[in-house]
Symmetry: C2
Subunit: 286 residues, 2 copies
């Protein structure tokens, strides 16, 4: 069922609550791919009812980012959801989410601001304000849908860690369920932004997963010094790759690691031409 208004979602959810049914929420920006599908399937399996939100959230894009050209494929998204057994596809307009005049600055809108220690690094460094926008919209979606469980992909691992922190800090009565990265056979992590890549760029993009897989292999062979592990990356990089970061950080609080351990995540971001891609890997299963 495709729903565009907050009031209709609330009405339906209220009915489910009365019947004692459990509710799963999968927040997305649409352009759904097999990564999203794995989240949706997990929710459908775990919960009595599943809501997928499809909303390209303007306040998590920074000036100059791809808000306008971000892929919008609602018809295909709805079909994927229906086929997967989703109960509600919630696709509100920006006006529905942020009101009539919708002035989106923090002069006129209440924001949920995650801690600086979590946002001043990795993607937060180049995407200033991004996670403020993410936390604010996810908080709104949580309040609208009031799910028992919310499903987020490990592909956006910094986001996942920040949202778990938000849930803990604000005592939000919702359990966050992390879902593993889905990769093409080539190793490339699925992303809606992969649509921006030419065939040749896609080959170049394999460098992210190659670097991560190799670091994990080195770690498993006994190399724990993050500086040494970091150096193994350079042989993979060429003039098509503009490395933004390659960092070793804690899976819970994003503290930097000098010596890799079982709680270490390796984070990478790089640009192929104009397209910015991210990936990450846990050195052990966390």
């Amino acid at each position: 069922m495709l729903i565009h208004t907050i009031a209709e979602v609330r009405e339906q959810v209220k009915e489910w609550r009365k019947q004692g049914l459990s509710i799963g929420l999968v927040p997305t920006m649409g352009a759904l791919h097999d990564g999203h599908k794995s989240l949706i399937e997990k929710s459908v399996e775990k919960c009595d009812k599943t809501v997928v939100s499809v909303f390209v959230n303007p306040i998590q894009f920074c000036p100059g980012e791809d808000l306008d050209k971000y892929p919008r494929t609602l018809e295909a998204d709805e079909k994927l959801c229906n086929d997967a057994g989703v109960d509600i596809v919630f696709a509100p307009s920006p006006k529905e989410m942020y009101g009539e005049g919708h002035i989106l600055s923090n002069d006129f809108l209440t924001y949920v601001i995650p801690p600086y220690f979590y946002t001043d690094k990795l993607c937060g460094k180049s995407r200033v304000g991004h996670f403020d926008g993410v936390c604010t919209v996810v908080n709104k979606l949580f309040n609208i849908v009031q799910p028992d469980f919310a499903f987020f992909g490990e592909k956006d691992r910094q986001q996942l860690i920040i949202l778990k922190k938000m849930v803990k800090d604000l005592n939000i009565p919702i359990q966050i369920i992390p879902c593993p990265i889905v990769r093409e056979e080539s190793g490339l992590a699925l992303s809606s932004r992969n649509k921006y890549l030419s065939e040749n760029d896609k080959k170049e993009a394999l460098v992210l997963s190659k670097i991560l897989f190799n670091i994990k292999a080195c770690y498993e062979k006994g190399i724990k010094d993050c500086k040494l592990l970091h150096e193994t990356a350079f042989s993979y990089l060429n003039e098509h790759h503009s490395l933004e970061y390659l960092e070793f950080r804690d899976a819970d609080d994003l503290e930097e690691k000098k010596i890799a351990d079982k709680n270490t995540i390796v984070f990478i971001a790089l640009k192929i031409g104009d397209v910015r891609l991210i990936d990450n890997i846990a050195l052990e299963n966390v």
Copy 2:
């Protein structure tokens, strides 16, 4: 029933929800007086179950403010609540609310930040960060108790307006119920901080309500120019009074008024010695 832990409140509230009972929350910092009592009575009347939280929230006090000496009278508060028919008095420790190490800066804690346009004026001007602390703790309490209704006094009118804005912006499924200021027969608005006043200071403190009542009387006689209305205050002030602000603002969005109208609130703050007092009045019933 006095409860100190989040888990116990949640358990009890869950039980009530199952039974389809409506829940009212009255968030307080304790030191309860007849003003609080009127909020509590309204909740007990309107809702099946009433929770009163008693928590002196450290993150809404600015450096140099009265966090340590703020009156704490839990035993008397509990008695007042029991007599009024309250179901739960929730009195958590700072550790229970903010965790073990509880580092309370925005480096390590997720904050709910109301819009600057609402917080850069009136009390927000001298109490920088105060409303960030208020919104964050109220958001936490909302998530812990998940009430249908929450009761706030018009005494803290800027706070009330900001919390209504937060509820709207974040789609919080709770209705805010404003409750009128309770005054002594003298006109003095009740406040936990009145305990700081000597007998003589208390007489001096009447200046706040006198100024507001007089402005309202002038308005009713037909004076609408806020500059003229403002000037009527000066004859009441003497060397014991240090006026912080006397302002005319909109009841919904705190925009400044040049010409008073039915949506105008007059806000006043002044110090008697070291004690900072606030009061306000609606020029018509809003």
